[in-house]
Symmetry: C2
Subunit: 166 residues, 2 copies
């Protein structure tokens, strides 16, 4: 094999590897994957004892700022709220503590009263498991539960108390 | 009142107001307040059923990167791990969900094997309530519980599963 061919193949292999590591999942309910949510700040946490899951509620900058100011009814345009859901287990070294086991899914609500006027002012999306496989069975499965809080702009969570002092 | 005096008083009032909003709490156990932790990324969540509290485990950039890479025994020098603790309550609109009520405290572990060699390689600090009143009763109250996980570099939490895909 000559050097030119070797380096060409090396470049092709490298580009495949990079794309495999950085490729975003396909859209869910026609909504693009919110890249980088793993580093978003937190809004709340919860433990659902009816389906044995722990939840972390996070937000993009617009949502987090609204949460901190208590301006959440309605949430401002451009807010993205994420809910990261894990099955629960007992902590090995502290048996009365319930902690995350396997990742179930990450769900997101995208606020835009005009753009998503047909789905209550929000876009609704979900990516499943560590592979973040897109959910594409429509938004009704989301909004049917959330209709219980339609007077809270369709959001269950209250922002958790945080000190304003920095 | 002349204009000069008026503006002088205005400036003094403004500076008091700024300092009241940005002043950090006093040190806890001789450790400085980790400014801006409210916007740190998350490492895990937990629900302690023995004392009815929900917990959010966060980290500074060094700690979060270590958590994501699974390089946490030992945690790298400069890691700061935070645990934000709230009393629990039932969510009004979903009774089987346990959510945060009143903020109890925010606790932090500061990793530096040399600097904190006398306290197991960590500095231990706690700020109490929304006022973030510093805890100054020494580190023994922290490390006595954490000694159960001394073989895990004194840290209870495992980083929660997160997708590597972005």
């Amino acid at each position: 094999m000559n050097f030119r061919l070797f380096f060409s193949l090396l470049l092709i292999a490298a580009s495949f590897n990079v794309s495999a590591e950085t490729k975003s999942p396909e859209p869910s309910n026609n909504l693009d994957y919110p890249i980088g949510w793993q580093n978003w700040a937190s809004i709340a946490v919860s433990h659902r004892t009816d389906n044995n899951t722990l939840r972390l509620i996070i937000g993009n900058n617009i949502a987090v700022q609204a949460a901190r100011l208590g301006k959440t009814n309605p949430w401002p345009k451009g807010s993205i709220i994420g809910k990261v859901v894990w099955k629960e287990k007992r902590l090995e070294n502290w048996q009365s503590a319930i902690v995350p086991k396997k990742l179930v899914h990450a769900e997101f609500m995208f606020k835009d009263a005009q753009k998503y006027s047909k789905t209550h002012g929000w876009g609704w999306a979900r990516w499943i498991g560590l592979e973040q496989k897109p959910f594409n069975k429509g938004t009704e499965v989301c909004s049917s539960c959330h209709s219980a809080v339609k007077n809270r702009d369709w959001v269950f969570s209250d922002p958790a108390q945080l000190p304003k002092i920095q």
